[in-house]
């Protein structure tokens, strides 16, 4: 018999088993079709309420979650950083408890502090979905990346996936590393030395500062946004110098496999980490990622809204 989903929360890919990741990906596959129907809505989460708590700015993850919730017929409430009482000094736990008093079933949460959802989850009866915590994890983004690779390549095991850019601040990369290595893919991380975390190779990945090495033989190049807002500490001399050494453009792609996939979690800085023609070029699956994100988030919401779990009365 196939594996069942018995977790209350989705906090990261670090704790998930291979079977659980497969179940999530298979469920997402079945949800894909709903967005192609004339009526893009199913009643699966009718009567359930989902709170989207975004303590850090987000556009695409938030609208992807919100649309996934609506397509499952859930009721949604949104709390966005600046408009919330967080700015009035309310603690995270108090804010969440208040939301729970409104009988919310699922809390989707983004927070700038790593580990914030892990602190919150045990205090709440509601399920918690981590929509990005600090530099720690962004599980639904990694799942949609895995899903996209699976859709395009038909497998994950044995593939070579390179992450290029700001590895240090990238929760997307961390979640991807947990997921991809569990599924048998080989991961390389590449960026300037200042943006490669010390000891990252302990996670079972190969680290390099040489872009050519990361591009050659790679089946997938997953580019990370240079987070201009985080560059106040100056991790590299200038944006132009970064682009000179690490930009993915037509020239460097001549060294890549002819069927390489170019992925990017967005938003893209055209002309910095990637050139415009590559974003819109034949190798790019960046918009597929967005579409797949919806199916993956529907799958997560559906599985977490299951009935009684072990240990519940």
């Amino acid at each position: 018999m196939s594996v069942e989903w018995n977790r209350k929360d989705l906090l990261g890919l670090r704790d998930l088993t291979i079977e659980e990741i497969n179940l999530l990906l298979q469920t997402a596959k079945s949800f894909q079709e709903i967005s192609l129907r004339p009526v893009k809505k199913v009643p699966a989460l009718r009567g359930r309420t989902v709170a989207n708590l975004f303590f850090e700015p987000s556009t695409r993850t938030r609208i992807s979650f919100e649309l996934a919730e609506k397509r499952l017929s859930a009721d949604t409430i949104n709390l966005v950083g600046a408009s919330s009482s967080m700015v009035k000094g309310e603690s995270l736990k108090d804010a969440a408890r208040n939301i729970e008093a409104l009988k919310v079933h699922i809390v989707v949460m983004r927070h700038s502090a790593s580990g914030a959802p892990h602190r919150l989850a045990p205090a709440l009866k509601a399920s918690v979905i981590n929509a990005g915590d600090g530099i720690n994890e962004h599980p639904t983004q990694a799942l949609l990346d895995l899903f996209t690779i699976l859709e395009k390549k038909g497998k994950l095991a044995g593939l070579k996936v390179s992450f290029i850019g700001d590895i240090l601040h990238s929760r997307v990369t961390r979640s991807n590393i947990w997921g991809l290595t569990k599924m048998g893919a080989h991961v390389t991380v590449c960026g300037p030395k200042t943006l490669l975390p010390a000891e990252i190779e302990k996670l079972g990945v190969h680290a390099t500062t040489n872009l050519h090495e990361a591009v050659q033989d790679a089946d997938v190049l997953n580019l990370l946004r240079i987070q201009l807002e985080r560059q106040s500490e100056s991790f590299f001399p200038s944006i132009r110098e970064y682009a000179n050494s690490y930009q993915i453009n037509r020239e460097i792609l001549k060294e890549a496999k002819p069927d390489v996939l170019i992925m990017h979690p967005g938003p893209v800085n055209r002309g910095i980490e990637i050139t415009s023609d590559v974003v819109d070029g034949p190798f790019s699956v960046i918009l597929d990622q967005v579409t797949h994100g919806l199916a993956v988030r529907m799958a997560v919401l559906y599985l977490l809204s299951g009935g009684k779990r072990e240990g519940e009365e």
Binding site: W5, N6, S30, F31, L72
Partner: protein
Amino acid sequence: MKSAKSLLDPDGIRRALTRIAHEILERNKGTKDLVLIGIRTGGAHLARRIQSEIKAIEKIEVLLGVVDITLYRDDLSERGPQAKIRETEIPFDITEKKVVLVDDVLYTGRTIRAALDALIDFGRPQSIQLAVLADRGHRELPIKPDYIGKNIPTSQGETVEVRLTEDGHLQDDLVVLPSEEKP
């Protein structure tokens, strides 16, 4: 081990499906606008068989779809971990079509209610008819089949199963399993 009582043998099932195919063609005056949609998983196999019966009679392959009703269940999330979702595949527009919905066993009617809601999300068919291999009674909703393979009087504790070779059974069978002994 409880004993299963067989009510239709492989030939019996084949004849019932042949008759249903004829009845569908008679009622709809041929295959014009006719489509078959099976409810996963048993109904999907039977719909495929009815499709080939119709092909044998009329030399025309009618369109075939499969609907998974899990997301439309009225007891979703009351039953422990979520049921596995499988794909709904209706690769054609059902608007203005005469849809024959196919299921293996008709019982409370709740599955059919869910399937009707799902179908309406795909378009506005001219009509929806219902074909089942076994009708075991005990309806809880006002639903009546148009084509019935076999009527089976049962008590509520009993279980009716259609076992098909498509699901790995050695031969087709329609069985009734007696009530579980109360410990």
